[in-house]
Protein backbone atom coordinates (compact mmCIF):
# COMPACT_ATOMS: atom_id res chain seq x y z
CA UNK A 1 0.00 0.00 0.00
CA UNK A 2 1.38 3.36 -1.02
CA UNK A 3 1.07 6.56 0.86
CA UNK A 4 -1.71 7.83 -1.46
CA UNK A 5 -3.87 4.78 -0.83
CA UNK A 6 -3.39 3.16 -4.22
CA UNK A 7 -2.48 -0.49 -4.18
CA UNK A 8 -2.37 -1.77 -7.74
CA UNK A 9 -1.60 -5.33 -6.73
CA UNK A 10 -4.60 -5.43 -4.41
CA UNK A 11 -6.90 -3.91 -7.03
CA UNK A 12 -5.71 -6.47 -9.57
CA UNK A 13 -6.48 -9.18 -7.07
CA UNK A 14 -10.01 -7.83 -6.54
CA UNK A 15 -10.55 -7.77 -10.30
CA UNK A 16 -8.95 -11.20 -10.68
CA UNK A 17 -6.57 -10.04 -13.37
CA UNK A 18 -2.87 -10.70 -13.80
CA UNK A 19 -0.62 -7.71 -14.45
CA UNK A 20 2.96 -7.67 -15.66
CA UNK A 21 5.22 -5.24 -13.83
CA UNK A 22 5.13 -3.05 -16.95
CA UNK A 23 1.31 -2.99 -16.86
CA UNK A 24 1.36 -2.31 -13.15
CA UNK A 25 3.47 0.78 -13.69
CA UNK A 26 1.27 2.00 -16.52
CA UNK A 27 -1.96 1.45 -14.60
CA UNK A 28 -0.52 3.08 -11.52
CA UNK A 29 0.18 6.16 -13.60
CA UNK A 30 -3.31 6.12 -15.18
CA UNK A 31 -5.06 5.72 -11.87
CA UNK A 32 -2.97 8.48 -10.31
CA UNK A 33 -4.17 10.72 -13.12
CA UNK A 34 -7.78 9.77 -12.50
CA UNK A 35 -7.40 10.46 -8.79
CA UNK A 36 -5.83 13.78 -9.58
CA UNK A 37 -8.78 14.60 -11.83
CA UNK A 38 -11.24 13.63 -9.09
CA UNK A 39 -9.33 15.78 -6.63
CA UNK A 40 -9.87 18.77 -8.88
CA UNK A 41 -13.59 18.04 -9.24
CA UNK A 42 -13.89 17.80 -5.47
CA UNK A 43 -12.84 21.40 -5.14
CA UNK A 44 -16.16 22.49 -6.64
CA UNK A 45 -18.54 23.70 -3.98
CA UNK A 46 -21.51 21.29 -4.02
CA UNK A 47 -22.96 22.26 -0.68
CA UNK A 48 -26.36 23.17 -2.09
CA UNK A 49 -26.48 20.37 -4.66
CA UNK A 50 -28.32 17.13 -4.11
CA UNK A 51 -26.35 14.05 -5.18
CA UNK A 52 -27.41 12.77 -8.60
CA UNK A 53 -27.68 9.00 -8.68
CA UNK A 54 -29.47 8.88 -11.99
CA UNK A 55 -30.91 11.22 -14.53
CA UNK A 56 -34.41 9.80 -14.99
CA UNK A 57 -36.89 12.17 -13.36
CA UNK A 58 -39.47 9.65 -12.26
CA UNK A 59 -39.24 7.03 -9.62
CA UNK A 60 -38.79 3.46 -10.73
CA UNK A 61 -41.80 1.42 -11.78
CA UNK A 62 -41.93 -2.10 -10.41
CA UNK A 63 -43.12 -5.23 -12.14
CA UNK A 64 -46.02 -7.45 -11.06
CA UNK A 65 -45.07 -10.82 -9.63
CA UNK A 66 -45.73 -12.74 -12.81
CA UNK A 67 -43.78 -15.50 -14.42
CA UNK A 68 -42.57 -14.92 -17.92
CA UNK A 69 -41.09 -17.25 -20.44
CA UNK A 70 -37.40 -18.01 -20.04
CA UNK A 71 -34.92 -18.62 -22.83
CA UNK A 72 -34.46 -22.14 -24.19
CA UNK A 73 -31.34 -23.55 -22.57
CA UNK A 74 -29.46 -23.77 -25.87
CA UNK A 75 -30.05 -20.08 -26.43
CA UNK A 76 -28.91 -19.19 -22.91
CA UNK A 77 -25.74 -21.18 -23.35
CA UNK A 78 -24.95 -20.25 -26.94
CA UNK A 79 -22.35 -17.62 -26.08
CA UNK A 80 -20.70 -19.55 -23.29
CA UNK A 81 -16.97 -19.94 -23.96
CA UNK A 82 -17.24 -23.39 -22.43
CA UNK A 83 -20.23 -25.56 -21.53
CA UNK A 84 -20.96 -29.11 -20.44
CA UNK A 85 -24.19 -30.98 -19.61
CA UNK A 86 -26.17 -27.77 -19.72
CA UNK A 87 -23.80 -25.95 -17.37
CA UNK A 88 -21.60 -22.96 -17.98
CA UNK A 89 -18.02 -23.94 -17.25
CA UNK A 90 -15.45 -21.63 -15.73
CA UNK A 91 -12.03 -21.91 -14.21
CA UNK A 92 -11.98 -21.79 -10.44
CA UNK A 93 -11.45 -18.27 -9.18
CA UNK A 94 -9.96 -17.67 -5.83
CA UNK A 95 -7.73 -15.43 -3.79
CA UNK A 96 -4.20 -16.45 -3.22
Amino acid sequence: MKKDGLDIKYLAQLAQIHLSSQEEKQLDKDLQNILHFIAIIRRVNTKEVEPTFQVAKDVQMSRPDQKEKSLPREAALQNAPQQKNGYFISKPIGWK
Partner: protein, 423 residues
Protein backbone atom coordinates in the same frame (compact mmCIF):
# COMPACT_ATOMS: atom_id res chain seq x y z
CA UNK B 1 -36.15 -10.30 -8.64
CA UNK B 2 -35.51 -8.07 -11.63
CA UNK B 3 -36.95 -10.26 -14.41
CA UNK B 4 -39.83 -12.65 -14.99
CA UNK B 5 -37.94 -15.94 -14.70
CA UNK B 6 -39.33 -18.51 -12.29
CA UNK B 7 -37.94 -18.35 -8.76
CA UNK B 8 -38.22 -22.13 -8.33
CA UNK B 9 -34.65 -23.33 -8.59
CA UNK B 10 -34.59 -26.51 -6.53
CA UNK B 11 -34.05 -29.64 -8.64
CA UNK B 12 -34.71 -27.86 -11.90
CA UNK B 13 -32.63 -28.65 -15.00
CA UNK B 14 -29.62 -26.32 -14.90
CA UNK B 15 -29.80 -23.01 -16.71
CA UNK B 16 -33.42 -23.27 -17.80
CA UNK B 17 -34.74 -20.22 -15.91
CA UNK B 18 -32.70 -17.59 -17.68
CA UNK B 19 -33.39 -14.52 -19.72
CA UNK B 20 -31.27 -11.65 -21.02
CA UNK B 21 -31.81 -9.67 -17.79
CA UNK B 22 -30.71 -12.28 -15.26
CA UNK B 23 -27.86 -13.29 -17.56
CA UNK B 24 -26.77 -9.68 -17.63
CA UNK B 25 -26.72 -9.49 -21.41
CA UNK B 26 -26.02 -6.08 -22.93
CA UNK B 27 -29.11 -3.97 -23.47
CA UNK B 28 -31.26 -5.70 -20.87
CA UNK B 29 -32.83 -3.70 -18.05
CA UNK B 30 -33.66 -4.88 -14.54
CA UNK B 31 -37.13 -4.02 -13.18
CA UNK B 32 -37.76 -4.82 -9.50
CA UNK B 33 -40.53 -7.21 -8.50
CA UNK B 34 -43.28 -5.43 -6.54
CA UNK B 35 -44.24 -8.45 -4.43
CA UNK B 36 -40.62 -9.02 -3.35
CA UNK B 37 -40.43 -5.41 -2.17
CA UNK B 38 -43.73 -5.75 -0.30
CA UNK B 39 -42.60 -8.93 1.42
CA UNK B 40 -39.39 -7.27 2.54
CA UNK B 41 -41.41 -4.36 3.94
CA UNK B 42 -43.69 -6.83 5.71
CA UNK B 43 -40.68 -8.50 7.29
CA UNK B 44 -39.28 -5.12 8.34
CA UNK B 45 -42.63 -4.10 9.84
CA UNK B 46 -42.84 -7.37 11.80
CA UNK B 47 -39.56 -6.63 13.58
CA UNK B 48 -40.36 -2.92 13.97
CA UNK B 49 -37.52 -1.77 11.77
CA UNK B 50 -37.46 1.74 10.42
CA UNK B 51 -38.75 1.65 6.84
CA UNK B 52 -36.82 3.69 4.29
CA UNK B 53 -39.68 5.20 2.33
CA UNK B 54 -37.32 6.15 -0.46
CA UNK B 55 -34.75 3.52 -1.25
CA UNK B 56 -32.62 2.39 -4.13
CA UNK B 57 -30.61 -0.56 -5.29
CA UNK B 58 -26.85 -0.58 -5.55
CA UNK B 59 -24.28 -2.60 -7.41
CA UNK B 60 -22.01 -4.68 -5.25
CA UNK B 61 -18.96 -5.39 -7.38
CA UNK B 62 -16.92 -8.51 -7.01
CA UNK B 63 -15.49 -10.95 -9.48
CA UNK B 64 -16.61 -14.51 -8.98
CA UNK B 65 -18.30 -17.08 -11.26
CA UNK B 66 -21.56 -16.95 -9.29
CA UNK B 67 -22.30 -13.53 -10.81
CA UNK B 68 -23.07 -13.21 -14.51
CA UNK B 69 -22.67 -9.42 -14.47
CA UNK B 70 -19.59 -8.97 -12.29
CA UNK B 71 -21.83 -7.32 -9.70
CA UNK B 72 -24.80 -8.23 -7.60
CA UNK B 73 -27.77 -5.89 -7.37
CA UNK B 74 -28.15 -5.35 -3.65
CA UNK B 75 -28.72 -2.59 -1.12
CA UNK B 76 -26.14 -0.90 1.02
CA UNK B 77 -26.82 2.62 2.21
CA UNK B 78 -30.59 2.57 1.84
CA UNK B 79 -31.81 -0.87 2.89
CA UNK B 80 -35.61 -1.25 2.97
CA UNK B 81 -35.53 -1.77 6.74
CA UNK B 82 -33.08 -0.39 9.28
CA UNK B 83 -32.74 -1.49 12.88
CA UNK B 84 -35.55 -3.41 14.56
CA UNK B 85 -35.45 -6.31 17.01
CA UNK B 86 -36.41 -9.96 17.02
CA UNK B 87 -37.71 -11.34 20.34
CA UNK B 88 -36.04 -14.66 21.05
CA UNK B 89 -36.58 -16.91 24.05
CA UNK B 90 -33.23 -17.52 25.70
CA UNK B 91 -32.77 -19.20 29.04
CA UNK B 92 -36.38 -18.69 29.98
CA UNK B 93 -36.82 -15.08 29.05
CA UNK B 94 -37.36 -12.92 26.01
CA UNK B 95 -34.24 -11.28 24.63
CA UNK B 96 -34.59 -8.67 21.90
CA UNK B 97 -31.94 -9.42 19.28
CA UNK B 98 -31.02 -6.08 17.68
CA UNK B 99 -30.91 -5.98 13.89
CA UNK B 100 -28.65 -3.89 11.73
CA UNK B 101 -30.78 -3.96 8.59
CA UNK B 102 -33.08 -5.91 6.31
CA UNK B 103 -32.28 -5.57 2.65
CA UNK B 104 -33.36 -7.01 -0.65
CA UNK B 105 -31.04 -8.34 -3.32
CA UNK B 106 -30.77 -10.89 -6.10
CA UNK B 107 -29.47 -14.34 -5.24
CA UNK B 108 -26.34 -15.64 -6.94
CA UNK B 109 -25.71 -18.72 -9.07
CA UNK B 110 -25.11 -22.19 -7.71
CA UNK B 111 -21.60 -23.51 -8.30
CA UNK B 112 -20.41 -27.07 -8.43
CA UNK B 113 -16.72 -27.72 -8.26
CA UNK B 114 -15.50 -30.59 -10.43
CA UNK B 115 -11.72 -30.83 -10.31
CA UNK B 116 -10.34 -27.72 -11.94
CA UNK B 117 -13.69 -26.86 -13.47
CA UNK B 118 -16.51 -24.84 -11.98
CA UNK B 119 -19.97 -25.80 -13.25
CA UNK B 120 -22.37 -22.90 -13.09
CA UNK B 121 -26.15 -23.07 -12.85
CA UNK B 122 -27.60 -19.57 -13.06
CA UNK B 123 -31.20 -20.59 -12.24
CA UNK B 124 -30.90 -19.29 -8.69
CA UNK B 125 -29.16 -16.15 -9.78
CA UNK B 126 -31.72 -13.36 -9.90
CA UNK B 127 -34.11 -14.95 -7.39
CA UNK B 128 -35.21 -12.44 -4.71
CA UNK B 129 -33.22 -12.79 -1.51
CA UNK B 130 -33.90 -10.97 1.75
CA UNK B 131 -30.87 -10.56 3.97
CA UNK B 132 -31.47 -10.03 7.66
CA UNK B 133 -28.36 -8.77 9.39
CA UNK B 134 -27.99 -8.59 13.17
CA UNK B 135 -25.90 -6.26 15.22
CA UNK B 136 -22.95 -7.96 16.93
CA UNK B 137 -25.12 -8.92 19.90
CA UNK B 138 -25.15 -12.72 19.89
CA UNK B 139 -22.63 -14.18 22.29
CA UNK B 140 -23.01 -17.93 21.92
CA UNK B 141 -23.75 -20.61 19.35
CA UNK B 142 -26.94 -21.44 21.25
CA UNK B 143 -28.14 -17.85 21.07
CA UNK B 144 -27.38 -17.69 17.35
CA UNK B 145 -29.29 -20.90 16.79
CA UNK B 146 -32.33 -19.70 18.73
CA UNK B 147 -32.27 -16.49 16.71
CA UNK B 148 -32.09 -18.10 13.25
CA UNK B 149 -34.86 -20.51 14.21
CA UNK B 150 -36.96 -17.51 15.08
CA UNK B 151 -36.23 -15.92 11.72
CA UNK B 152 -37.25 -19.11 9.93
CA UNK B 153 -40.47 -19.22 11.91
CA UNK B 154 -41.23 -15.59 11.11
CA UNK B 155 -40.51 -15.96 7.39
CA UNK B 156 -42.87 -18.93 7.20
CA UNK B 157 -45.44 -17.22 9.39
CA UNK B 158 -45.56 -14.25 7.03
CA UNK B 159 -45.62 -16.59 4.02
CA UNK B 160 -42.56 -14.94 2.55
CA UNK B 161 -40.79 -18.23 1.81
CA UNK B 162 -40.84 -21.87 2.81
CA UNK B 163 -37.38 -21.12 4.26
CA UNK B 164 -36.40 -24.70 3.53
CA UNK B 165 -32.68 -25.06 4.06
CA UNK B 166 -32.48 -28.29 2.10
CA UNK B 167 -33.77 -26.46 -0.93
CA UNK B 168 -31.43 -23.56 -0.36
CA UNK B 169 -34.28 -21.15 0.25
CA UNK B 170 -32.77 -20.19 3.60
CA UNK B 171 -29.04 -19.97 4.22
CA UNK B 172 -27.07 -18.92 7.23
CA UNK B 173 -23.88 -16.91 7.58
CA UNK B 174 -22.12 -16.37 10.85
CA UNK B 175 -19.57 -13.68 11.59
CA UNK B 176 -17.45 -14.69 14.52
CA UNK B 177 -14.79 -12.84 16.45
CA UNK B 178 -13.52 -13.06 20.00
CA UNK B 179 -13.36 -10.13 22.38
CA UNK B 180 -12.04 -9.78 25.88
CA UNK B 181 -14.78 -10.32 28.43
CA UNK B 182 -15.67 -6.86 29.70
CA UNK B 183 -15.79 -6.14 33.39
CA UNK B 184 -19.26 -5.75 34.87
CA UNK B 185 -21.30 -2.94 33.44
CA UNK B 186 -18.87 -2.21 30.65
CA UNK B 187 -19.58 -2.62 26.98
CA UNK B 188 -17.79 -5.19 24.88
CA UNK B 189 -15.09 -3.66 22.77
CA UNK B 190 -15.47 -5.16 19.32
CA UNK B 191 -12.30 -6.66 17.86
CA UNK B 192 -10.97 -5.28 14.59
CA UNK B 193 -11.47 -8.47 12.61
CA UNK B 194 -14.24 -10.89 11.85
CA UNK B 195 -14.35 -14.32 10.34
CA UNK B 196 -17.34 -15.11 8.18
CA UNK B 197 -18.48 -18.68 7.77
CA UNK B 198 -20.67 -18.84 4.68
CA UNK B 199 -23.40 -21.01 3.26
CA UNK B 200 -24.37 -22.97 6.34
CA UNK B 201 -27.43 -24.99 5.46
CA UNK B 202 -28.63 -26.32 8.79
CA UNK B 203 -29.07 -25.05 12.33
CA UNK B 204 -26.82 -27.81 13.59
CA UNK B 205 -24.02 -26.85 11.23
CA UNK B 206 -24.33 -23.23 12.32
CA UNK B 207 -23.91 -24.24 15.94
CA UNK B 208 -20.97 -26.53 15.15
CA UNK B 209 -19.23 -23.99 12.94
CA UNK B 210 -19.51 -21.27 15.59
CA UNK B 211 -18.21 -23.50 18.36
CA UNK B 212 -15.38 -24.67 16.14
CA UNK B 213 -14.43 -21.08 15.31
CA UNK B 214 -14.48 -20.03 18.95
CA UNK B 215 -11.96 -22.75 19.77
CA UNK B 216 -9.82 -22.10 16.69
CA UNK B 217 -9.64 -18.35 17.31
CA UNK B 218 -9.01 -18.84 21.00
CA UNK B 219 -5.89 -20.86 20.16
CA UNK B 220 -4.63 -18.16 17.81
CA UNK B 221 -5.09 -15.51 20.48
CA UNK B 222 -3.40 -17.71 23.06
CA UNK B 223 -0.39 -17.86 20.75
CA UNK B 224 -0.24 -14.09 20.88
CA UNK B 225 -1.62 -13.51 17.39
CA UNK B 226 -4.82 -12.09 15.97
CA UNK B 227 -6.95 -14.18 13.58
CA UNK B 228 -7.11 -12.78 10.03
CA UNK B 229 -10.26 -11.36 8.52
CA UNK B 230 -11.41 -13.97 6.04
CA UNK B 231 -14.26 -15.96 4.61
CA UNK B 232 -14.34 -19.59 5.61
CA UNK B 233 -16.34 -22.59 4.53
CA UNK B 234 -17.66 -25.37 6.74
CA UNK B 235 -16.86 -29.01 6.11
CA UNK B 236 -19.86 -30.83 7.52
CA UNK B 237 -18.22 -34.25 7.40
CA UNK B 238 -15.12 -33.22 9.37
CA UNK B 239 -16.98 -30.64 11.45
CA UNK B 240 -14.30 -28.03 10.73
CA UNK B 241 -14.10 -24.67 9.01
CA UNK B 242 -11.51 -23.96 6.31
CA UNK B 243 -10.12 -20.77 4.79
CA UNK B 244 -11.61 -19.79 1.42
CA UNK B 245 -10.56 -16.28 0.68
CA UNK B 246 -9.43 -13.14 2.34
CA UNK B 247 -12.61 -11.30 3.12
CA UNK B 248 -13.27 -8.10 1.28
CA UNK B 249 -14.10 -5.04 3.30
CA UNK B 250 -17.11 -2.94 2.31
CA UNK B 251 -15.12 -0.47 0.22
CA UNK B 252 -13.67 -3.28 -1.90
CA UNK B 253 -17.16 -3.90 -3.28
CA UNK B 254 -17.29 -0.37 -4.71
CA UNK B 255 -21.00 -0.08 -4.04
CA UNK B 256 -22.76 2.53 -6.12
CA UNK B 257 -26.42 3.19 -6.98
CA UNK B 258 -27.50 1.10 -9.96
CA UNK B 259 -28.03 3.62 -12.74
CA UNK B 260 -30.50 1.23 -14.41
CA UNK B 261 -32.89 1.31 -11.47
CA UNK B 262 -33.99 4.78 -10.33
CA UNK B 263 -34.90 5.15 -6.64
CA UNK B 264 -38.19 3.66 -5.48
CA UNK B 265 -40.77 5.18 -3.24
CA UNK B 266 -43.14 3.55 -0.77
CA UNK B 267 -46.27 5.62 -0.22
CA UNK B 268 -47.67 5.84 3.30
CA UNK B 269 -50.86 4.19 2.09
CA UNK B 270 -48.84 1.26 0.71
CA UNK B 271 -47.09 0.87 4.06
CA UNK B 272 -50.39 1.18 5.93
CA UNK B 273 -51.92 -1.51 3.70
CA UNK B 274 -49.02 -3.85 4.45
CA UNK B 275 -49.20 -3.09 8.14
CA UNK B 276 -52.82 -4.22 8.07
CA UNK B 277 -51.73 -7.50 6.52
CA UNK B 278 -49.46 -8.25 9.46
CA UNK B 279 -50.90 -11.17 11.40
CA UNK B 280 -50.44 -11.63 15.12
CA UNK B 281 -46.76 -12.55 15.37
CA UNK B 282 -45.38 -15.76 16.89
CA UNK B 283 -44.03 -14.05 20.00
CA UNK B 284 -47.29 -12.16 20.46
CA UNK B 285 -49.22 -15.39 20.31
CA UNK B 286 -46.83 -17.06 22.77
CA UNK B 287 -47.36 -14.21 25.20
CA UNK B 288 -51.10 -14.40 24.70
CA UNK B 289 -51.26 -18.04 25.80
CA UNK B 290 -48.85 -17.36 28.64
CA UNK B 291 -50.99 -14.55 29.95
CA UNK B 292 -54.40 -16.05 29.33
CA UNK B 293 -53.70 -19.57 30.57
CA UNK B 294 -50.43 -19.33 32.48
CA UNK B 295 -48.63 -21.69 30.09
CA UNK B 296 -44.92 -21.65 30.75
CA UNK B 297 -42.80 -20.08 28.01
CA UNK B 298 -41.27 -23.30 26.77
CA UNK B 299 -44.66 -24.94 26.39
CA UNK B 300 -46.12 -21.89 24.76
CA UNK B 301 -43.25 -21.61 22.32
CA UNK B 302 -43.39 -25.27 21.30
CA UNK B 303 -47.14 -25.07 20.84
CA UNK B 304 -46.91 -22.02 18.60
CA UNK B 305 -43.91 -23.30 16.65
CA UNK B 306 -45.58 -26.50 15.52
CA UNK B 307 -48.18 -25.76 12.84
CA UNK B 308 -50.29 -28.87 13.35
CA UNK B 309 -50.23 -28.67 17.15
CA UNK B 310 -51.09 -24.99 17.02
CA UNK B 311 -53.99 -25.56 14.67
CA UNK B 312 -55.41 -28.35 16.83
CA UNK B 313 -54.98 -26.28 19.96
CA UNK B 314 -56.74 -23.32 18.41
CA UNK B 315 -59.73 -25.47 17.58
CA UNK B 316 -59.95 -26.61 21.19
CA UNK B 317 -59.55 -23.17 22.72
CA UNK B 318 -63.27 -22.22 22.48
CA UNK B 319 -64.13 -25.19 24.74
CA UNK B 320 -61.44 -24.62 27.31
CA UNK B 321 -62.91 -23.21 30.48
CA UNK B 322 -60.00 -22.57 32.80
CA UNK B 323 -56.24 -22.44 33.19
CA UNK B 324 -56.05 -25.92 34.60
CA UNK B 325 -57.72 -27.43 31.56
CA UNK B 326 -55.63 -25.28 29.23
CA UNK B 327 -52.35 -26.36 30.79
CA UNK B 328 -53.28 -30.03 30.68
CA UNK B 329 -54.44 -29.85 27.08
CA UNK B 330 -51.40 -27.85 25.95
CA UNK B 331 -49.01 -30.30 27.60
CA UNK B 332 -50.79 -33.24 26.08
CA UNK B 333 -50.75 -31.72 22.59
CA UNK B 334 -47.04 -30.95 22.82
CA UNK B 335 -45.86 -34.13 24.55
CA UNK B 336 -48.22 -36.82 23.27
CA UNK B 337 -48.97 -36.16 19.62
CA UNK B 338 -50.24 -39.71 19.14
CA UNK B 339 -53.15 -38.94 21.46
CA UNK B 340 -54.62 -36.35 19.11
CA UNK B 341 -53.11 -36.68 15.67
CA UNK B 342 -55.65 -37.78 13.10
CA UNK B 343 -58.53 -37.11 15.49
CA UNK B 344 -61.36 -34.64 15.08
CA UNK B 345 -61.09 -31.90 17.74
CA UNK B 346 -64.69 -32.40 18.93
CA UNK B 347 -64.19 -36.13 19.37
CA UNK B 348 -60.86 -35.64 21.09
CA UNK B 349 -62.39 -33.11 23.48
CA UNK B 350 -65.23 -35.45 24.34
CA UNK B 351 -62.87 -38.32 25.10
CA UNK B 352 -60.51 -36.13 27.05
CA UNK B 353 -63.31 -34.82 29.24
CA UNK B 354 -64.55 -38.33 29.87
CA UNK B 355 -61.02 -39.30 30.89
CA UNK B 356 -60.90 -36.33 33.26
CA UNK B 357 -64.14 -37.40 34.93
CA UNK B 358 -62.70 -40.82 35.56
CA UNK B 359 -60.14 -39.18 37.75
CA UNK B 360 -59.51 -40.62 41.13
CA UNK B 361 -61.03 -38.69 43.96
CA UNK B 362 -63.02 -39.13 47.12
CA UNK B 363 -62.57 -42.20 49.27
CA UNK B 364 -60.26 -43.97 46.87
CA UNK B 365 -57.91 -41.00 46.77
CA UNK B 366 -58.06 -40.57 50.56
CA UNK B 367 -56.98 -44.19 50.90
CA UNK B 368 -53.91 -43.63 48.71
CA UNK B 369 -53.04 -40.44 50.59
CA UNK B 370 -53.07 -42.30 53.90
CA UNK B 371 -50.90 -45.02 52.46
CA UNK B 372 -48.35 -42.50 51.23
CA UNK B 373 -48.22 -40.77 54.60
CA UNK B 374 -47.53 -44.08 56.28
CA UNK B 375 -44.85 -45.14 53.82
CA UNK B 376 -43.01 -41.88 53.25
CA UNK B 377 -41.89 -41.25 56.79
CA UNK B 378 -38.90 -39.12 55.86
CA UNK B 379 -40.77 -36.74 53.53
CA UNK B 380 -43.60 -36.48 56.07
CA UNK B 381 -41.16 -35.58 58.81
CA UNK B 382 -39.46 -33.06 56.54
CA UNK B 383 -42.74 -31.38 55.76
CA UNK B 384 -43.72 -31.18 59.39
CA UNK B 385 -40.37 -29.58 60.14
CA UNK B 386 -41.33 -26.86 57.69
CA UNK B 387 -39.77 -28.11 54.48
CA UNK B 388 -42.66 -27.13 52.22
CA UNK B 389 -41.09 -28.61 49.10
CA UNK B 390 -41.58 -32.09 50.53
CA UNK B 391 -45.26 -31.68 49.72
CA UNK B 392 -44.58 -31.73 45.99
CA UNK B 393 -42.74 -34.99 46.41
CA UNK B 394 -45.62 -36.49 48.35
CA UNK B 395 -48.12 -35.42 45.68
CA UNK B 396 -45.88 -37.16 43.18
CA UNK B 397 -46.01 -40.36 45.22
CA UNK B 398 -49.79 -40.20 45.37
CA UNK B 399 -49.85 -39.71 41.63
CA UNK B 400 -47.56 -42.71 41.19
CA UNK B 401 -49.85 -45.01 43.14
CA UNK B 402 -52.88 -43.56 41.36
CA UNK B 403 -51.17 -44.11 38.03
CA UNK B 404 -51.46 -40.46 37.20
CA UNK B 405 -55.22 -40.49 37.60
CA UNK B 406 -55.36 -38.43 40.77
CA UNK B 407 -56.47 -34.84 40.64
CA UNK B 408 -53.30 -33.06 41.74
CA UNK B 409 -55.09 -30.26 43.55
CA UNK B 410 -57.36 -32.56 45.43
CA UNK B 411 -54.43 -34.77 46.32
CA UNK B 412 -52.51 -31.81 47.64
CA UNK B 413 -55.43 -30.56 49.69
CA UNK B 414 -56.01 -33.99 51.18
CA UNK B 415 -52.32 -34.37 52.01
CA UNK B 416 -52.18 -30.97 53.70
CA UNK B 417 -55.31 -31.79 55.70
CA UNK B 418 -54.00 -35.14 56.81
CA UNK B 419 -50.56 -33.80 57.68
CA UNK B 420 -51.86 -30.92 59.79
CA UNK B 421 -54.71 -32.81 61.46
CA UNK B 422 -52.73 -35.82 62.48
CA UNK B 423 -49.47 -34.16 63.36
Amino acid sequence: MFCGCSAQHFRQPANTHLCPTCLGLPGSLPVPNQRAIEMTVLMALAVKAKINRRFFFERKNYFYPDLPKGYQISQHISPIGEGGTVPVLLGGKYVAVALHDIHLEEDTAKLEHHGDEVWIDFNRSGVPLVEVVTQPVLHSAAAAKAYVKRIQQLVRWLRISDADMEKGSMRLEANISLATRPSDGEEIELPSYRVEVKNLNSFRFLEKAINYEIERQKKIWQNGKQPVQETRGFDAQQGVTFGQRRKEVAKDYRYFPDPDIPPLELTSSAIARLRKQLPRLPWEEEKMWQERYGLDWQLSQTLVANDKAREFWQMLVPWIKNRDQAQKIAKLIVNKPDRWQGKKPAKFWQEWQKGQNERLGGAKLAEIVSQVIVEETKAVADYRRGKISALGYLVGQVQRLARGKADPREAQQLLQQELTNNG
